[in-house]
Symmetry: D3
Subunit: 264 residues, 6 copies
């Protein structure tokens, strides 16, 4: 079982952090590789640069599939290019927001989201509406950090998030809180692993972990011939409609940057 977790940021800065907090919770037989983008803008906080990043994500997904991964996780709570990647490749693809909001009721009655910064708030609300999971969501708020600053001081991110989670629970009545940013969540879990045990006592949903566990689940189902994705509309790919057009488009998604030899 090999899972590719892509940090869709044009920097390697977050790779070790993600790996450090995920590895202790994985099954032994799961091999997790953390990738980052090496073209495009450094981050995707704003809509226009996000478009450029999404093209890079499509290329990376294509490369991961060719490299033989069993599943692909897009490591950002915007689930950037989730539908697009699912259309393009055959292996299971997981977005942490979709995967996490889907199972919030298993953790408590009604949920809220605490994300990184103010620009993410409307974007996440729009995603929840597309997914149909806004019904149980009592609020989306930002803790007020941009990813560039978080790696400088992950413990402060964790503490402020801990405070915000308690606050939003009290104000909205949400029983469980989804940390709506992979890096904020990673900071939170890092602090927890380093001894801030109180952080583990709140009902806080870890989207990085749920994304990877969901990837394991779908990869298992795929191996058992039970990953029955509908390829009739939403996830139908261009080749199924017109192989000629697909052949014209395919080269756009090729990139030596994410070539198999890079992995390992």
């Amino acid at each position: 079982m090999r899972i590719c977790f892509l940090n869709p940021f044009g920097t390697e800065k977050y790779d070790n952090l993600i790996k450090e907090v995920l590895v202790p919770s994985l099954r032994e037989e799961t091999e997790l590789e953390v990738w980052h983008l090496n073209a495009g803008p450094r981050n995707l906080d704003y809509y226009a640069p996000k478009q450029l990043v999404q093209v890079e994500i499509l290329k990376a997904a294509k490369a991961a599939e060719e490299a033989g991964f069993d599943a692909f996780v897009i490591g950002c709570l915007y689930d950037p290019a989730l539908t697009e990647v699912r259309e393009l490749v055959s292996i299971p693809v997981v977005g942490p927001l979709e995967a996490s909001t889907a199972i919030t009721r298993m953790f408590g009655h009604r949920y809220a989201v605490v994300t990184d910064h103010h620009k993410a708030v409307p974007e996440l609300k729009d995603r929840l509406r597309v997914y149909g999971t806004d019904v149980n969501c009592l609020g989306v708020e930002a803790v007020g950090w941009f990813v560039d600053d978080m790696v400088e001081d992950p413990m402060s991110v964790a503490e402020e998030t801990y405070g915000h989670v308690q606050d939003i629970m009290r104000r909205t009545g949400a029983e469980t809180v989804l940390i709506g940013c992979t890096i904020v969540s990673a900071c939170y879990e890092l602090a927890y692993l380093r001894g801030r045990k109180e952080l583990g006592e709140l009902s806080v949903i870890n989207p990085n972990l749920i994304a990877v566990k969901t990837a394991e689940m779908l990869a298992d189902m795929n191996a058992a011939g039970q990953y029955r994705l509908a390829r009739t509309g939403y996830y139908q790919n261009l080749a199924a409609h017109d192989p000629g057009q697909a052949a014209e488009v395919d080269p756009y998604f090729e990139s030596t940057l994410y070539a198999p030899e890079r992995i390992g």
Copy 2:
């Protein structure tokens, strides 16, 4: 990893069927035990008998927890007593409807449900509303079989379901269909395993499998200290509020019928 899958029917008739269709898709290290109820009415199709069955499910869950299972699956798409069992025991509890409808978007745009008989239709619609997953549901319909009759002729159940799935997809535009009954789904998968490969080509969601995979996921998270269920309201148990009252209520859920020695 030991998972208890409870057939909440007062008969052993379906146990082998469930096991037969689930085992080929499981991870090697997962040990699946299929239980059935041995008190209460034989089935739970109607609301009044379902109340009696739900009390038995609570007892069985208590027994499964005492027997050391890592997770408990309630094997019926009504998710009978799901919230109640989650309140009562500490191990992760999974209902196949909650678990499956949560992830329908991973299989296609909008879903429909095909269940067993007409009495189940309003009940399932009510459950979807409670979960907040009715937003993406385009219809709940019945194939017209009661469980008692299905074991007599599982292949016919499979064929009629196959036809109904194609029909509801065409009429409603649902891209993926959740089989809304554990036994109908088992019949469907049995036919598939026995060579009706076309059945595997539709985007049909197998709730038995997803329930067990979700149980694995939550049990993994529990083992890693990441199963952070909110015990503040919805799933707070009576003992947390008043240990004295809990001590008075506990004996109601004890039963020699589901004693640990029975297992194995």
Copy 3:
């Protein structure tokens, strides 16, 4: 016109209180009998014990029907076993939450609910969603009392509720407030009857009274051949589907505890 109002608590402690506050508002020809459960746990605040109570409610409803009552009121705002009882018996059955939220618009634009304690909040929200009456509901909050404590100090319950009602109106904009607990409402009305006239000046919905008035209405319609309950699905009973199975299940609902001779 004989109406049975069941206190679904395993104690007679609340019977007189309910009777005291209801009788002054009844029509002369209405005979109201207040029952309580005499088996099962004392209260139903938590989900697991509530399951046990719901079985007792089914037995009591059966007994009330046999005793010739014209309608049956389940005296708790959870409307415990409402759908189940309606399926089981032929006489009209009323749940105070369903009956009261249905007519909130007749009292003001948008409503809120003030219930007893925190555990009731998610349960009531789920019920409103099942009923489809959450659309106009601006909030469900708890005044912070458990029923066991209320009979000790009904005047304090009334005062705190009075304050909470004013507060939730101001914060949410709800024009009318449904008291979401039979006992809290009874305390409130008791204080009103004892001279706290200000309590009657707020737009506060009395669910006990509305439940009984709705029972009168449905019983009147039943007598006139106009109580046309659909027995085709939601409220179809097991006997209509399979008399043999129904005969097997019926004994579970028999109980000497609620035998006709007990009444009077």
Copy 4:
């Protein structure tokens, strides 16, 4: 208990029909008086004439209150001027659509509406949305009759409605059907009273009867000091805001046409 049921049509043609079908279901102590409008256009099927009719309804309500009625029923499923009349007068006011859709769940899971003609369909849908009762409504359809023609042939109206009700139940899954027009419902009940017993076997909601029963209920509550209408916003009247302005407006609602001496 005196209830005024207003036929908001500028003709006496329907008065006897309404009375004939309602009286057999009433309580003995209820005195029902059926009024009709004697100014304004004959009917209110279209929006522009309906405005004129609504002004007449306000005058009639004012006259009914002055004549000492205990409650006022607006006898049309558009609930024309319902909010407006409730603002203007002190006695309870009932609209049959609001009163009937509120309690549909007591009759079956999900409902549909069968109304008179195509122009009523969007109007009723808008009303249901304002009330928040569209959530459980599976369809609003017209049987295709205008009121002017119905009195000529009530038996045909009844038969076609009977067919349409069965049809909409089958197509939509609605378990109960609200007859969405006072006159269509009256024709239906007339046929039933005259021996078409099959019509009473469907779960068909009679809005005329429910409106009157709800009027009884609210009048009873009013007599007991329990009709706690919020006068803070939606139903606050102009006099409460500015008695001077109210005095200027009041004369518009006075009319000798509905003077007390007319009644009897």
Copy 5:
């Protein structure tokens, strides 16, 4: 291009104010005429008087159509008689609430409404629900002025509104705010025109202007044969159904008060 903007108040007091704030934003070729009602109550803040005003609006619309206007704007955020007028006349009819809430997403993610006084709040909420535009609305609140008082002190109205807008943005997260009253908005724009430039820096939607611009758009489309209003149901008029009945009703909408010679 001639547009009639009707102040549906029985006074000429607001006509100059409206004209003063609208004219600077209009296209050169647009001729805007501001009318007011000269019968009926002075204002329409309460439901009962609003009924009377709505009849006058119908008469005024009829007169405007006869006077050859290309479009008719009902200058009040209640959109009083909007559907009714659209049914009655052939020229395009615009209500500022419908026109403005429709395009809020072009100004920001989610909106709120700040209206004049408390009585307007439930009315506006009901309208948004009918339109289906409540989905993106985070709140409707009142600044606390009645129209009669505003003309006395428009600068205070503007300042308080400016404060309230900032406040509701902060509390609800609404990015844009619709001023939910033509006169409040006119006061706001007047202050802006008179030099309070900060007021123009907030994302505040001016419903008077959007109504007039929408009227221009629909009139342009009408001139190009592209104003394809459905006359099959909602906006079908009585004459299309029954010319005889229409001929009986027409005289009610005639009024010498709004005769063509008045215009100019």
Copy 6:
């Protein structure tokens, strides 16, 4: 008033068609320029190629702004990159789906969408949900043509669409139908201009025209200092947050392909 209408297809094939059908409905002073993309895949029917196209749209918008246009219309009903372009540029940006669904109620009660092909259906449904305009939408269906084929036979497209519109009106009750594809709508209008007058008798919404008229409206408002877009979140651009980062990203959106000299 200069408006740039971008055909987001990598071909000039549709430019004349769009111009031909739009020009007859425009105001005299409006200068409409139709652009197409000259890089990226030819069309954007599938999600992965659409990502590439969206990057080109951003470049084209940037070029249009630099070329001094007063507004920019994205000529595809997916509204591709609408939010992104609005974030990136300062001039008003219009998407035909957003603009058209916003005002459907002005044309009839409830609407449906008829788009080109099956792949567009889920995409449009997702867009409507993001906009919050799905509330009044009764269906989204495809007429079954891909854009590549339409220019070959526009009259057949028009006839089949005409039939489909009538059919969906009859089946769903939608009173007005939005043509959910710029090219299908252009074919429809072309047939209408060439003499198929019946096509203009249905309530069919022309999204190309409404997009351009909305662009005129917003450009007018912009000129009058009344285009008060919120730049605080959804439409805040990167430069407002971090000019340094914006300077790094800007070069990605520069393209000689859409340079000003090209225009003329």
